[in-house]
């Protein structure tokens, strides 16, 4: 019986207790401070890119949808950088797909399922709701009132 190997209890990973540093250095030796700083610079650059839609250089100022799509693309790129490098997913084994892909799909389905009942809630509305609902014309009305007040010199500024 003496030549049995060590029997570890399910709670204790053989390499979890004292050889952690070694194991990690072996397992995750892909990072490196240079890489992290490069990702940091990229993230800062991408954040300022989001503001590009506000500048006069942006050619699609009349079509906000283009700007939104651009900003979402920038956000997704930033998210990928954080997940891949900072969260070390780039260097993980294949289990990463098991956790992330179903969760991401569920998240997308969830949003799509909200569209008919919530996204299109104003296609058919009761008279009651239509009466109290804000419209674009209300914003125009308020803007006209502000202009009129400006001309009259009524506001305190």
């Amino acid at each position: 019986m003496s030549d049995h190997g060590p029997i570890t209890r399910p709670g204790d990973l053989p390499d979890h207790d004292d050889s952690h540093g070694e194991h990690d250095a072996h397992d995750h030796g892909h990072g490196g401070i240079g890489k992290y700083l490069a990702v940091f610079v990229a993230l800062c650059f991408l954040t300022t890119m989001s503001f590009l839609t506000y500048s006069s250089l942006w050619p699609w100022r009349d079509e906000p949808q283009v700007g939104w799509a651009f900003m979402m693309a920038v956000s997704c790129t930033k998210a990928m950088l954080v997940v891949l490098f900072f969260m070390h997913v780039l260097w993980e084994a294949n289990w990463k797909y098991v956790l992330t892909i179903p969760a991401a799909m569920m998240a997308i389905f969830l949003c799509i399922m909200l569209v008919p009942d919530i996204g299109m809630r104003n296609r058919m509305v009761s008279q009651e709701r239509a009466l109290h609902m804000a419209r674009e014309s209300d914003v125009k009305l308020l803007e006209r009132a502000a202009e009129a007040a400006m001309l009259e010199g009524m506001p305190a500024h």
């Binding site: 990973l13 700083l37 900072f86 179903p102 998240a107 969830l110 109290h132 209300d138």
Partner: protein, 325 residues
């Protein structure tokens, strides 16, 4: 890790036991986990996958509500400042870098350096919450609250709005205060307050008038709390400090922000849940700072870091959706 946890048959180097024992007792039994990662990390990733769905639900409902709404307030209508949001984004990105550097330092057993980076992460996270608190207070000071009884945002300048203004002006304490204001001599009032008093008088006449036109009520709404013009969300000429509610803060008259109620609900819900996550992360870092952050603790730091990066990730989407769209 895999190699050490697989059952390894020892057939050749135990011949001395003789033939009778060849088929039992020569196996090294070791625990083999289902996934090649530590339990803490596995649990953290499972938790994060539920968090993905939690925030996806929140962000998804925001997007769907926003794009399904007939009118949504522009960022400057609700006193949102893009530069402040961008600054907070920068702060969170920096804190993501510092926590990853804390992990790297801990892995090579530099406990002091790891503690320094973690402390910096804690400070950056606190700065984020501080800026968020400042933003919240600027919303509160403009009468935008996350809960209904305190909120007095109306969707449109219609008759219901007019009667709400009339009702507020007719409250007993209001009548006293308005009388007090009317009786105050000009010498005790600032120029702005003198002008405000004239404007308030006109507003009172307009809401009391039996033949109000929609445009009159829009004028009333504009006098009480004008929709700030673009680029005027901080210190601009029109908007900030221009309304009667700003001149006389005790007035607290109902105001009109088209789409403002749904905006306030989603804004406070999303940023609030995010802020709670930040606060929890800070609590974890504060606890970890009392440890010796050497290589033994690298696993724990990694898990806390994973959580923190996720919080950063949520903000990466929240910032453009809330401030720039």
């Amino acid at each position: 890790m895999n190699a050490s946890s697989v059952a390894i048959p020892h057939d050749h180097d135990h011949d001395h036991n003789g033939g009778h024992d060849d088929h039992h007792g020569h196996i090294t039994l070791q625990y083999q986990p289902g996934l090649p990662l530590s339990r803490g990390k596995l649990i953290m990733w499972l938790f994060l996958s539920t968090e993905i769905m939690f925030f996806a639900a929140l962000l998804g409902s925001y997007i769907v509500l926003r794009f399904g709404a007939p009118v949504w307030p522009k960022p400057h209508h609700v006193h949102l400042s893009e530069p402040i949001g961008a600054f907070n984004t920068f702060v969170l990105i920096c804190s993501s870098v510092t926590i990853v550097l804390a992990l790297e330092a801990a892995r090579v057993n530099k406990a002091g350096l790891a503690k320094f980076w973690m402390l910096l992460t804690l400070l950056l996270g606190t700065l984020f919450l501080g800026v968020k608190g400042y933003e919240y207070s600027s919303k509160f000071s403009h009468g935008i609250y996350p809960w209904a009884p305190r909120g007095h945002i109306y969707e449109r300048p219609d008759l219901y709005y007019g009667s709400a203004v009339r009702a507020r002006l007719g409250e007993p304490e209001m009548i006293d205060k308005l009388k007090e204001l009317d009786d105050t001599e000009d010498a005790y009032l600032s120029n702005e307050q003198i002008r405000g008093r004239i404007r308030l008088k006109k507003v009172r006449e307009m809401v009391a008038s039996p033949d109000q036109q929609p445009f009159d009520l829009a004028v009333v709404a504009d006098q009480i709390a004008p929709l700030p013009a673009e680029g005027a969300s901080h210190g601009g000429s029109h908007g900030h400090g221009g309304g009667l509610n700003d001149t006389f803060p005790w007035l607290k008259l109902p105001m009109v922000i088209p789409g403002g109620n749904m905006w306030a609900s989603t804004y406070f819900l999303l940023t609030g849940f995010h802020a709670i996550h930040v606060a929890v992360g800070l609590l974890v870092f504060a606890i970890m700072l009392s440890w010796k952050l050497n290589a033994k603790r690298a696993g724990a730091i990694e898990n806390a870091g994973l959580y923190w990066h996720f919080v950063d990730l949520v903000w990466i989407f929240l910032f453009p959706l809330m401030y720039l769209f």
